[in-house]
């Protein structure tokens, strides 16, 4: 039996397990939180896609949901929360403010959270409808499936 065969299958199993067991940490600052609640609760039920487990500690979470406007004073806080999460971790930019600053084109608001932390999936909309969020989640799951063990931190150390 060749070693390569086993590693490949293990990768596939690992990614499959990961994509259906996303523990998420909601970092909610603004009105997009309403859409997050709608997505997470029974009507749209994010649990159907295996992301129903909300952890209120970043240390136990895999997916950081950044929901709402991030301003300059909050930037170090968001960075700290991201740093506290253990690998592997994914970031979802939820709504126009996190993607690009949205309507807040001014001195106080961070123009897209990718200035602070790396983002895996961008969800547009002001605010995005729950269907859009679920679509984004499915796209993130595809990405996780394709990732295998090629984690971000491995790339960083090499």
């Amino acid at each position: 039996m060749a070693g390569g065969f086993l590693t490949t299958r293990f990768d596939a199993l690992l990614s499959w397990g990961r994509k259906y067991s996303l523990f998420h940490y909601p970092f909610i600052t603004a009105c997009c939180g309403m859409e997050y609640m709608s997505t997470a609760c029974a009507h749209y039920d994010i649990d159907r896609f295996g992301a129903g487990m909300t952890r209120f500690s970043p240390r136990q979470a895999d997916m950081l949901l950044v929901v709402g406007t991030i301003n300059r004073k909050l930037a170090p806080v968001l960075k700290t929360v991201y740093d506290q999460m253990t690998e592997p971790k994914w970031v979802m930019a939820f709504g126009a403010c996190t993607v690009s600053g949205g309507i807040y084109d001014n001195y106080a608001v961070v123009q897209g959270i990718d200035e602070i932390i790396p983002v895996d999936i961008y969800i547009p909309g002001c605010p995005p409808r729950p269907e859009t969020v679920l679509d984004g989640l499915l796209k993130l799951q595809e990405k996780i499936k394709a990732e295998g063990q090629d984690w971000r931190w491995k790339k960083k150390t090499s």
Binding site: R72, P76, Y107, A108, E115
Partner: protein, 163 residues
């Protein structure tokens, strides 16, 4: 009328301090010398009807006026349901006025906001730091000469690390 009484009391207790009197939306407005703010506020709080509550303190920037920064204080009498507005003009160079934080605790944060947004300094303030913006931010955004967007680099402790 109580309004007349409090204005008369202000004029008599602090001669020369009251520069202008008027009325706006049914409430008395009085413009005083900035040096007289502390005694005037003390009098408003002590004398009947007793303006015991500081509703709001804010600032307006008029770049073309000699007194560029117009401080605006709103006081409220809980006993009689009356309001009064007190204004004071500060010069453009180094705007500074006495802090009301010792008399009204909520003034501490209101004044921190004004310091953050307009750069007005408050003498005797216990902790005069920026309220809304980070410590590294340069300038005061609500001044009329601040650029429309005026973006500045993020603080170094929130930058994304490049691998």
């Amino acid at each position: 009328m109580e309004e007349k009484d409090i204005l008369t009391a202000l004029r008599e207790a602090l001669p020369g301090a009251v520069l202008e009197e008027g009325e706006s939306f049914g409430d008395p407005v009085v413009r005083i010398r900035p040096e007289a703010l502390l005694p005037a506020a003390g009098l408003l709080k002590a004398e009947p009807p007793g303006y015991a509550m500081l509703l709001d303190a804010t600032c307006v920037d008029y770049p073309d006026r000699p007194g560029r920064f117009e401080m605006v204080y709103h006081f409220f009498s809980l006993a009689r349901n009356r309001r009064i507005r007190v204004k004071a003009d500060l010069p453009a160079g180094r705007p500074e006025i006495a802090s009301l934080a010792a008399m009204w605790k909520n003034a501490a944060w209101l004044e921190r906001e004004i310091f953050d947004m307009f750069g007005v300094r408050f003498a005797g303030h216990p902790d005069l730091r920026r309220l809304f913006l980070d410590e590294g931010f340069e300038g005061h955004p609500l001044r009329k000469d601040f650029p429309l967007r005026g973006r500045q680099p993020l603080p170094s402790n929130s930058k994304q690390e490049t691998p």
